[in-house]
Point group: C2
Chain length 292, copies 2
Amino acid sequence: MTKLINNLCVIGTGLIGGSLCLALKAADACDNIIGAGRSEETLQKAKQLNIIDAYDTDISHAVEQADIIFVSVPLGAMQTVFEKIAVGLKAGGNTRAVITDAGSSKQRVLQLAETVFPDNGRRFVAGHPIAGTENSGPDAAFADLYKNRRVILTPGDDTDSDAIERVTTLWQTVGAEVESMDAAHHDKILAATSHLPHLLAFGLVHCLENIDDIEDVFRFAAGGFRDVTRIASSDPVMWRDVCLNNQQPILDMMKRYRDELDMLYNALQSGDGEKLIEVFQHAKQTRDKFTH
Amino acid sequence: MTKLINNLCVIGTGLIGGSLCLALKAADACDNIIGAGRSEETLQKAKQLNIIDAYDTDISHAVEQADIIFVSVPLGAMQTVFEKIAVGLKAGGNTRAVITDAGSSKQRVLQLAETVFPDNGRRFVAGHPIAGTENSGPDAAFADLYKNRRVILTPGDDTDSDAIERVTTLWQTVGAEVESMDAAHHDKILAATSHLPHLLAFGLVHCLENIDDIEDVFRFAAGGFRDVTRIASSDPVMWRDVCLNNQQPILDMMKRYRDELDMLYNALQSGDGEKLIEVFQHAKQTRDKFTH
């Protein structure tokens, strides 16, 4: 029986790319997975872990025969990778390949794809799986990462519909639920639900680093602190790139949050218990409503 | 065989008090547990759940025969409860009872105890179990809550040493590790590890409540958002009281955090990737070091 994908090329075989490979293998959906990327060490590791079947440090060469190209590198590396893909597709006369990515901001990636890929990027389907952990690298990959998680696609107006369908099927095969939306809307929502919380968590740990009692801070930290700061263990390069590539929506959310903190600071300073309880009650109600 | 405690009186039979009762019962350490508090409904529920053996809505009456009195009510209710305890101890001629609490800020509680209890509160041992969940009420109580968790005692200079010993043994019996420190140091550390994170979490949910896309915010929230905001489901009354009772240390931490956010905002606005990655790397290293 023909499998869903003949040749899959995954560029970046860490948590995100590696988990997709493992999940597709578990679903027996791929004939051949080739890993590509800059770091031969990472690729070797991914091969050892049976995440990929083969690897190539030459991205252009790796994509020549691919049916689907999955780009899961930090956003800052996206342009270089896209350019190498474009070179490879041209060299291989590969016009049918569908390209998709996993970047956490989508407007910049879409612009890039339209500029770099042939035909204004009609074979490129911008995507973002809403899944991850604070760990990174091939070691962190696991087959169930995308099970029952959402994947957002933000195709452009001219994206080929068969390309969108292939990427949709790809994600559904690994257990994800696929939704489409406008890239600007994606970037705003993700600034709120993911990018701002990451900044807040990094900032919380960082601002406590220099107090005298840092040892005690961690010794006496309970579950609340550990949960709030979990994502401060995330990959710094990835998150620098997310910030720089979704700058304005994140700045907007930070401003909103800073106003909130100022309001809470003033309420506490003036001993305004009614204001505090109003905020806490609203927050609790909203969270409980959406999580139960 | 004589049990550790003959008569325990627990005032406030929610998550914290209820869990202590269940843990002491599991350790077969109490002859009799009497619950006390304002809400008969809560006490009935606690009795139904076999958390307590009997209850009394008259706190003064409930403490007359107690060996140990455990106060686990929100900090805002502490003064009234302490006053009722003092009345009951006097009425019952009960001078041996040891009183302890579970309040999240300790300087105010100590002051209160010195003012309200006989002999400047020599039989009062201020305590704080570093444990909890975002849930509240008797239903949320469970016997293992304190297992391998830390409990901080902040006795005053004149606290009776046998009272400190009894409270230490009480907590050790339910599997906790007991440490002593100065109340002011406790309040500073807890402002950093618990009070500030709770404010940040409440504030994060609250500041997103009024954006148009709140439904999407929660629909597309991943594990990071859920973890960061988990404690925003905590009890609003309890947290208003914590804030108002540990005002200055929390304001100091909020100011420190606001400076951190301003720095991150400016770094992002000016596209300073080096600054961002420096902060993220430091935060990740610090957190990884202390959590692994």
